[in-house]
């Protein structure tokens, strides 16, 4: 079996385009690129990495971002107050909803400029530019503006610079590949259960472009662009909506057929395969296989990395362990190779299942997670609250966020012996908050043919 060190070195070779010159590493980047395993680094050293990364990021945003500085002043906190990890809970958190409160028209461009930390390149905005035009102009100027959307119809927009985006792509690849050790090798075949990363500004899709650099041959489930307008039109209960839904239904059928054919072909050739993306697409594939009485036995030659939420249809969730059982039964892929990833557009930390216990491990060298109660105070390990985090990687916007996701955190994994804290295997949205999840957008489109109008 390949040594873990060599395994990660191979990854770094493959992804060298994502790694900046080490002489220019920010402390956050040091925490991502230097440790071999960001989920199992010796505690003391991991804390040192983390403290430097987050203190640096906090100071950077305090000094270069006027709205965040003002917010800190209102909260009576300055970078000098952060002397150790124990002071991290003084860092003012931004509710994730904040990134949904953007104005329209040319003011949207100013809003992006305002939440962006530091100076921007020159960007010319025309009167007639809409949101998409403005995003594309920012992106042409070297930024990566991506978004995710919620049921209220408002998107969450996050401005990353190219470097922060590369960092987060590397981080997600390292997360998955670390945990499936020793499964990963470049000479393998992948299926991305997401929109084409090169055709979308949806964060969950875009961040997956690193898959194409980590795996030799990658197919994409959804090659069309998922435009917000189309989704909205398809949900209407009129003729146009019905036509779009009908077209989608046909397309979905074809998509599932394509994936099944791909499975057959690679199984015959004894290729190593992986799936990455929304669980519900694979769920539909497995349902279809089950109906036809077909199954495979990929064994150690297969892996499934899911992300983006566990809703299948409106009001129906698949329990994660049931999904794993199905994957084992239909595809023959063992549960240790079937892991879930949890992350969000606002941050650059990726929580990933350990193969032994399927607890979500939190990277401990550049990212600090907290669980906050309704009074804004940290709760003890094991108690329920809202997931919040301090991200030492984001240089282009303050990524100190309190989310609406309800979690329980444990200091240690109850099953494996990695040094990082964990979240329970499944994360849900706090009551009263909207469902989000990155698979949610696609779920909305793809499940429409079943229930008609979907919320």
């Amino acid at each position: 079996m390949i040594e873990f060190k060599e395994y990660i070195e191979n990854l770094n070779k493959r992804l060298h385009n994502y790694i900046p010159d080490p002489a220019t590493f920010t402390p956050g980047e040091e925490g991502v690129f230097k440790p071999l395993d960001v989920y199992n680094h010796p505690k003391k050293e991991a804390d040192e990495y983390k403290f430097k990364a987050i203190k640096y990021a906090f100071k950077h945003h305090y000094e270069n971002n006027s709205f965040y500085k003002k917010y800190c002043k209102e909260n009576n906190v300055t970078p000098d107050d952060i002397k150790s990890i124990d002071d991290f809970n003084k860092i003012p958190l931004i509710p994730d909803k904040f990134f949904k409160t953007y104005p329209s028209g040319k003011e949207f461009a100013m809003w992006l400029a305002t939440i962006y930390t530091g100076e921007l390149p020159n960007i010319v905005i025309k009167k007639s530019d809409d949101h998409d035009d403005i995003i594309n102009k920012f992106n042409d100027a070297g930024l990566v503006i991506s978004y995710s959307s919620g049921t209220s119809g408002r998107h969450t927009f996050i401005p990353r610079d190219k470097r922060t985006f590369n960092d987060t792509e590397y981080a997600i690849a390292k997360a998955a590949i670390t945990m499936v050790y020793p499964f990963w090798e470049y000479d393998s075949y992948g299926y991305l259960l997401m929109p084409n990363p090169f055709k979308t500004n949806v964060f969950a899709g875009k961040v997956c472009s690193v898959y194409f650099d980590a795996v030799k041959d990658v197919q994409v489930a959804l090659d069309r662009e998922l435009k917000a307008d189309l989704i909205r039109a398809a949900m209407k209960n009129n003729l146009k909506g019905r036509i779009i839904r009908y077209a989608m239904q046909r397309e979905n059928k074809k998509m599932i057929e394509r994936i099944i054919n791909w499975l057959r072909e690679n199984y015959k050739k004894k290729n190593k395969i992986s799936f990455l993306g929304a669980p519900f697409i694979l769920y539909f594939v497995m349902e279809e296989l089950e109906r036809n009485g077909e199954s495979f036995d990929f064994g150690e030659n297969g892996a499934v990395i899911t992300g983006g939420g566990w809703k299948i249809f409106e009001g129906q969730r698949i329990p994660v362990d049931e999904f794993r059982k199905k994957v084992e039964k239909i595809l023959g892929i063992p549960p240790e190779n079937c892991l879930d990833l949890y992350g969000m557009v606002e941050g650059n930390g990726w929580m990933v299942h350990c193969p032994e216990g399927h607890y979500l491990h939190i990277p401990s060298t550049y990212y600090h997670a907290m669980v906050i109660d309704e009074n804004g105070e940290e709760v003890a390990y094991g108690e329920k609250g809202r997931f919040a985090f301090l991200d030492g990687l984001a240089m282009s916007y303050p990524s100190f966020i309190i989310s609406g996701d309800e979690v329980r955190m444990y200091e240690e994994c109850p099953v494996c012996h990695r040094t990082s804290p964990v979240l329970e295997p499944e994360v849900s949205r706090a009551k009263g908050d909207e469902m989000r999840g990155c698979a949610e957008e696609m779920r909305r489109v793809l499940s429409m043919d079943l229930g008609g109008k979907d919320a």
């Binding site: 709205f67 909260n75 909803k97 949904k100 409160t101 953007y102 329209s104 100013m110 305002t114 009263g432």
Partner: protein, 316 residues
């Protein structure tokens, strides 16, 4: 005439006009597209019992003091007549001309905030609002402004489009599919506001809209006189804040059209929902008390505010 209209700001400011025009178009589109649904909604009967006023009206006595001035922010404006007998009586009852201005304005604030219940309905004047005991936040702001102006304190509206917090979305929007379509189409058409009163060289904000019960029901702090609800429990869409002497012309008609002609059942549903919310909030406040509630909820709820910067963006 036109100059006076402009001077009194009866003509909506440009950004508000833009919001309304956009909202108007989007709304017409939704309406036309949903004629069938709309017809159904119009036929639907929802039981709705109007509230009873929960306070006494003080008696008007001839000779009661009132400040009558034609100065900006003191004179009567649309739906806001500070000279009406009922207003003058209440202003005197609340201690106008006796208490110092800050104290009086704060008491007027507390009266309007606590006593008048939120119900969605077409705009009308301060007298019917006061007699009825309920209205929208715009009704309540007008009443607060009238009480200030009657006492010789300059007062104005601060209006803006809001990004709703989820609980609001649930109350107003989610309850009714038609409303949701409106909401999705309208985007920025959701106008909300506060009052502002000028004391000792400073404009002081007065968030008279939500009663403590409603704030408790939605888990947000009970705002005090001088405290902005922006940033505490929701965000104004940046750039949409406007400060005006008067509500604009046309808003009354538009609201009447929207609520009475298009979908009275939707409005009744929303109002019933608000009343349920008030009930829920009352229970919460009874259980733990207002002070303790406020202490708890304030610790957790903050939202940064931003002032838009241009940086190196060039607008053509």
């Amino acid at each position: 005439m036109l100059r006076e209209l402009k001077d009194k700001e009866y003509i909506p400011p440009k950004n508000m006009l833009k919001l309304f025009i956009k909202g108007g178009f989007a709304l017409s589109k939704v309406l036309i597209k949903n004629m069938g649904q709309l017809k159904k909604a119009r036929k639907e009967r929802i039981e709705y019992i109007p509230l009873k006023r929960n306070y006494e009206l003080p008696e008007y006595k001839p000779g009661m003091k009132v400040v009558k001035s034609n100065e900006k922010y003191l004179r009567p404006t649309l739906y806001c007549n500070p000279y009406a007998k009922e207003i003058v009586a209440l202003a005197n009852h609340l201690g106008a001309f006796e208490k110092d201005p800050y104290e009086y304005a704060r008491d007027a604030f507390e009266f309007v905030k606590r006593n008048l219940i939120l119900q969605i309905m077409p705009l009308d004047g301060v007298v019917p609002t006061l007699k009825r005991g309920y209205g929208t936040c715009l009704h309540k702001i007008s009443l607060f402004i009238a009480l200030c102006r009657a006492a010789g304190l300059k007062a104005r509206y601060k209006l803006y489009a809001i990004a709703m917090i989820q609980q609001w979305y649930e109350t107003f929007v989610e309850i009714d599919p038609l409303m949701r379509e409106w909401y999705d189409a309208m985007g920025y058409f959701m106008l909300h506001g506060e009052g502002e009163v000028y004391i000792d060289g400073k404009w002081i904000v007065a968030d008279v809209g939500p009663t403590p019960e409603r704030q408790a029901a939605t888990g947000i702090p009970i705002t005090k006189f001088g405290e902005d609800s922006i940033g505490i429990w929701f965000q104004a869409i940046p750039g949409s804040i406007m400060r005006v002497e008067s509500l604009p012309l046309g808003l009354g008609m538009a609201s009447k059209l929207l609520m009475e002609k298009i979908s009275p059942a939707s409005v009744a549903k929303m109002n019933n929902n608000i009343l349920r919310q008030v009930e829920k909030g009352r229970k919460i406040l009874q259980e733990i008390g207002e002070e303790e509630y406020n202490r708890r909820v304030r610790k957790g709820y903050k939202m940064p505010t931003i002032e838009l910067e241009r940086k190196s963006i060039i607008f053509e």
